[in-house]
Assembly symmetry: C2
């Protein structure tokens, strides 16, 4: 095992960086990029289904635009996978059924529940990917963060839910309950991912070490910190709707 | 009723052009643009559903791209409606259920039947719109023809159906039968549109007068000529797949 000079994208990594750890980094990056691409693809499918079900033509037009946007975002991630030498189709295949369980457990029964599901579900998934992205090489990180920041579909959900909820106390109470169920299931998905995917654990730990919230957080405290941050972000999201998390 | 000078986009029209006939032309253009936009929106929904059902990940990725492309094309048409002073949402609403009947009567039972339905169904609808577009003002016509020429989804259908069909005589025979049923239903849709929408009849007649195939076609022969051309185009499409129309 010979220590080789760092390639440009691994510059600034700790000393003792080796060819093997570079290969591992690449594989880890491809894993996270595959997850993000799969989530955007799932978002496309969900938004397209929402477009078909939306009550008004304006919403149908708008939701189909968001669906098209998810395809464009997914393809940017796929292009990045190719760029760093990965196989985009295989990377997506790895996460083919990542939300099947979540979807089966959280079948919305109204339009409002559908909207909130997208808002809360995407929210947690996006936040998780954002945090894991902190462990990526600079180029991949920038693309992932840019893709995840394009959250126009969330704005629609907020506007509609806000308008509906503020006029109806019963709806508000029901949606608050639904939101708690959604976030519980979504955090369950993240937990399973961390158990099954060492790559994601490594990225979260690396990202956490790079961006300490305070000086005390040790590397093995990363998962705890992760769930704390995911929950806090969820609480903020629900508060934007005037809902109790 | 005073004859006013032609506006630029109506230059070259027959003498005796009036303000009222300009308003009629505008309304007719908005009608056809509304139909094209609605068809692209329906194509989006169908391609998105195809993406969800496609057997392989490669197909799912590709079909979702086509779905996104349909949204972009639809929005180009909507932008044109706004440009000429129409209301895009109302224009689309006019054709809200234009293919519901067709869809109910032609439920595909296999993946191949789905593909052929898209190819044949889009094909007839696109051809009809293309012919009616000949009656539009130059700017609108150019946009409609450009939008309709972007037929990448047809290429996918052709490639897949061709690969599958050439290896399987039973499948070929079944699909030929399915194609005949599809084209019959699709021509029925066109027929109903021509009965219900005088605007489309006017555009087809105007387009037909502008682009005579031979010198003998009188204006009131336009519908007959239309169905002849639609059928001929369908026969060519089926032949590309090695199927008898």
């Amino acid at each position: 095992m010979t220590t080789i000079p760092s390639r440009p994208e691994t510059a600034g990594r700790p000393a003792g960086h080796t060819e093997e750890s570079s290969a591992l980094e690449l594989a880890d990056a491809v894993e996270l990029l595959g997850l993000v691409a799969q989530l955007e693809h799932v978002a496309f499918g969900r938004l397209a289904a929402d477009a078909a079900l939306a009550p008004t033509i304006e919403q149908r037009l708008e939701l189909s635009r968001f669906a098209a946007g998810a395809v464009v975002r997914r393809d940017r991630i796929l292009a990045r996978i190719t760029e760093i030498g990965g196989d985009p189709v295989e990377a997506v295949r790895e996460y083919d059924h990542v939300l099947d369980d979540f979807d089966a457990r959280t079948q919305p029964s109204t339009w409002w529940e559908r909207l909130l599901k997208a808002y809360v579900g995407y929210g947690v998934a996006d936040d998780f990917c954002r945090m894991a992205a902190e462990g990526l090489d600079e180029g991949s990180r920038a693309i992932v963060l840019e893709v995840l920041d394009d959250a126009s579909h969330a704005e629609l959900a907020v506007a509609e839910l806000d308008a509906a909820g503020s006029a109806d106390g019963v709806l508000t109470a029901r949606l608050a309950l639904w939101g708690r169920r959604l976030v519980g299931e979504a955090l369950g998905v993240v937990q399973r991912l961390l158990v099954q995917r060492p790559a994601l654990v490594r990225l979260v730990a690396l990202g956490s070490a790079r961006t300490p919230v305070d000086g005390s957080a040790p590397a093995n405290g990363a998962p705890t910190k992760l769930f704390g941050e995911l929950t806090a972000a969820h609480t903020r999201r629900m508060a934007r709707l005037g809902l109790t998390a």
